[in-house]
Symmetry: C2
DNA sequence: GTCGACATTATTGTCTACAATATCGTCTGT
DNA sequence: ACAGACGATATTGTAGACAATAATGTCGAC
């Protein structure tokens, strides 16, 4: 019997948010979560602080945690920064990229394709983010990897909040195209493909119509 | 009698690191810190997780926390990303920047100048970072502000680790020049000044000589 | 009948004690 | 004398109990 870890709980909540089972604004009561996962509140508190760091929940003093409600502007900022970070990741990666790593990456994309074929949404979400994190990890740049973790989870939240259809965000085709350029050692083309890919994802969201959830009741009703 | 808060403790530790009173690699034992600040270990734990989020300390499971030991490559990544983030901050800021905010900014620079004149190192450190955070806060972009907090603290660590002289990093003159461009509503020049400023700071560090602290003993001795 | 103060309840924040784990010293067998 | 394992100690991880705080419902006064 292995007690569930903090990371596992955090992942579960992350997935629930990405799947839109937990909607922005929903309260996450500590005692409730502790009950659900069969752990103490102390552990849940760690989970919540981790989730807050990744921008998935927002906590207010003495008022608890709620699922974060990103604004359209925030979403644009996140995509903007993410484009820069991902390009940097590729630049750092391409210098020490060997055949084995490339194989792992192609294998990963194959898994994505399988999940897509099976319409296994949870797996799709995990793998899509995982691909980008894998690139960062292989780049061997801890700081960039940490940033990417943050950005990926925030992107999940944004996608959940702003996509209209049930279309999936990260298609395997674009990932594979990117890998081809990496395989050829062409950094510029790889970066271009990455930017294109991210813009594609961003453009599928409804950021234009700023039907922003109002920050306060006052704003919402007056 | 007000008990010291988590943020205050974190700031104290941050300053000690920035002042090089705490050196990279030093252990931060929980009980010891709890004793020093007169609080319980639970509180210290919160402090340490916060510091880890900001990249100032590194914790390993069941082994405790040590002051982080950034590599030169990591430092370069951080500066690279920081340039992009700061430019984005300026872009977001310039649209809704009024006379009052500008006044506050100029006032802040005046304080920096005073601290410099008095050679109050602790105050210099606080104010230098504070200036950049102030810009982010005024931009009204929470995500960017959070990123900047992270980047500023990481920059403090890098500066502490890699500067050779006791030269101070952020000079008030460059900050003021930036403000002039903002006052004139010239985004491009402001961004250019910012990039120049950050490159200036980066170039004063000894990142070239990669006398990287080896990650492991094996690497260090063999 | 409505406004304001007060009590109740639910929820988070904090502390203290206990359990798990790693590290380091020591001992024994060869 | 040295290698390996075992045990002691120090340190972190976890849980549960208690205190503080904020939201809400109720009562009383005007």
């Amino acid at each position: 019997m292995a007690p569930i870890t903090v990371d596992e709980i955090a992942e579960r909540i992350w997935l629930s948010i990405a799947e839109r089972r937990l909607r922005p604004g929903m309260r996450l009561k500590e005692a409730e979560l502790a009950e659900i996962f069969g752990v103490s509140r102390a552990r849940i508190r760690q989970v919540l602080t981790a989730l807050e760091r990744d921008g998935l929940v927002k906590t207010e003093a003495n008022k608890g945690a709620i699922v974060a409600e990103p604004s359209a502007d925030e979403a644009r900022d996140i995509f903007h920064i993410r484009r820069e970070v991902e390009q940097r990741v590729l630049a750092r990666l391409i210098s020490h990229l060997d055949a084995e790593k490339l194989l792992d990456l192609f294998e990963h994309v194959a898994k994505e394709r399988a999940a897509n074929a099976a319409s296994d949404q949870r797996e799709i979400i995990k793998l899509s983010g995982g691909f980008h994190l894998m690139l960062a990890e292989m780049a061997g740049a801890d700081f960039l990897w940490g940033l990417m973790r943050d950005l990926v989870s925030r992107t999940s939240l944004i996608t959940a909040a702003f996509r209209d259809s049930d279309k999936y965000n990260c298609g395997p085709d674009e990932h594979e195209e990117l890998l081809m350029h990496l395989k050829n050692g062409d950094l510029q083309k790889a970066q271009h493909a990455m930017v294109h890919h991210l813009e594609h994802v961003e453009n599928e969201l409804k950021l234009a119509g700023n039907l922003d959830h109002a920050r306060s009741l006052k704003d919402a009703l007056l």
